[in-house]
């Protein structure tokens, strides 16, 4: 804004048109923005809910409907309402007959380029991670982004062992990344050679996130199962 401002000789008479112009334009713009916001907001909210539902159903094969739950301060779960912190939400998914398929949990951490966000599905009955999807990443195309579509890598997450210890407080075998082809135990993740850091980052997210969430979800699993039955009844 390198404009020379000419000082008017009679400021009192000249300031009125300026106020009028600024306030007028401000009101006009305000009306425009608010009306567009009100018009588009329901559509945007629906789009977002739909995208989340798609992702949840994808990581929990066999499910057709999902519901969100929020972590309470006591470490239990309740049905999520508006205004719950998205970082404290998990999403339970059910079959058409209201049976619990599993719970989808989001995790995030720094990857090779930027933060990677993933969503993974956990089946409490089998105590396994049954699906994983990368929600957002800026990994190098052709190398790091293989964490999103490499079938061998994704196969790691169809039956990943996250059994909870007898006291229900931690995971018996924390998730571990190993070299490509070296996977020997059900809690290990085969890395991708050529995308070492990205695949290790995904394993790291899972390791941290499962350690934090799985014991909580496992102990609170009755809430999720009950909700499914209620849904069916209603």
């Amino acid at each position: 804004m390198r404009t020379t401002i000419r000082v008017d000789v009679s400021p009192s008479s000249a300031s009125w048109p300026m106020y009028r112009a600024l306030v007028g334009v401000g009101v006009l713009c305000g009306l425009l923005i608010v009306s567009v916001y009100l018009l588009t907001q329901p559509v945007i909210a629906r789009n977002e809910a739909h995208a989340l539902q798609q992702a949840v159903l994808e990581v929990l094969p066999g499910a057709v409907v999902s519901a969100s739950f929020a972590l309470t301060a006591e470490g239990g779960f309740r049905r999520a309402g508006d205004g719950d912190d998205p970082q404290r939400l998990v999403h339970a998914a059910y079959t058409s007959r209201g049976q619990l398929v599993g719970v989808a949990i989001e995790g995030r951490a720094m990857g090779y380029q930027d933060v990677i966000r993933i969503l993974y599905g956990y089946a409490p009955q089998r105590q396994r991670v049954v699906g994983m999807r990368v929600l957002a990443s800026r990994e190098t195309p052709g190398l790091g982004d293989r964490i999103e579509k490499d079938p061998d890598f994704l196969a790691n997450f169809t039956a990943l062992d996250v059994t909870v210890t007898a006291d229900g407080l931690s995971i018996e075998h924390p998730v571990q990344a190993v070299k490509q082809g070296a996977k020997s135990a059900p809690w290990e993740i085969d890395g991708i050679s050529g995308a070492t850091i990205s695949s290790a980052a995904v394993a790291g997210i899972l390791r941290a996130s499962t350690a934090q969430w799985i014991p909580l979800v496992y102990r609170g699993r009755a809430v999720f199962v009950r909700s499914g039955a209620v849904n069916e009844g209603g």
Partner: protein, 217 residues
């Protein structure tokens, strides 16, 4: 085209045409580089960004021209920025409503349309002085020129970098994509090459004219 009043210059198709080629905002005026480089990694992103910018450009040009007699020159820039920022916010919500995926791909660069020097530049240099219809045409022309330039970049980068155009694969399976083209450095290279091409045309033209006496340019 209807006739204009005496004092005001007549509307001409040139208001529209000049933005496409002779005064192309990207290749000739080198304006608004940030979005050009950042979202041109695929043709579809480039197209969406170009259209969003055109939308803001046309509407802000029109509104600025409509209000040109009511706004004192001291607060001119402030009102321009208010108007542009509002239209950008509107576009941001519209894109979110149409496609969340597209909104994620373009990210913060939709909001950054507001600091695209092209839009403020046109408002200041053209729309604040000209009639509504001329400003509208000017915005449309410049917007299309900008979209065209973005598409030039996006298409080259997607064809070489992913072996596809608008997501449709172009090459047989054996093609090894030049990944560098969709990385940030590919953006610099591609734009550099396009500018080089235009410079070459400009340098060459007078030379040709001298070589062929009486030849038409």
């Amino acid at each position: 085209m209807k006739g204009a009043e005496k004092a005001v210059p007549a509307i001409s198709t040139d208001d529209f045409i000049k933005g496409l080629w002779r005064e192309n905002p990207v290749f000739v005026q080198v304006l608004g580089m940030c979005p050009v480089l950042a979202v041109s990694n695929s043709a579809i992103n480039a197209l969406a960004m170009g259209l969003a910018t055109s939308f803001v450009l046309v509407l802000s040009n029109t509104l600025v021209s409509l209000l040109r007699h009511g706004v004192p020159r001291q607060v001119r820039i402030a009102t321009f920025i208010l108007i542009i920022a509002s239209f950008v916010t509107v576009v941001d919500y519209l894109i979110q409503a149409v496609s969340l995926e597209l909104h994620r791909a373009l990210g913060a660069f939709i909001s950054l349309i507001v600091v695209n020097c092209l839009i403020l530049g046109r408002a200041e240099a053209f729309a604040s002085k000209q009639s509504v219809s001329r400003s509208f045409l000017d915005g449309l022309g410049m917007g299309l020129g900008f979209t065209l330039a973005l598409l030039c970049l996006g298409a080259v980068r997607e064809i070489l970098g992913s072996g596809a155009l608008f997501g449709v694969a172009l090459f047989p399976a054996g093609f090894q994509p030049w990944t560098v083209m969709i990385l940030p450095s590919g953006g610099f290279f591609t734009l550099g090459l396009w500018l080089l091409f235009f410079n070459y045309l400009r340098v060459r033209k007078p030379a040709v004219r001298e070589a062929v006496p009486g030849g038409t340019p």
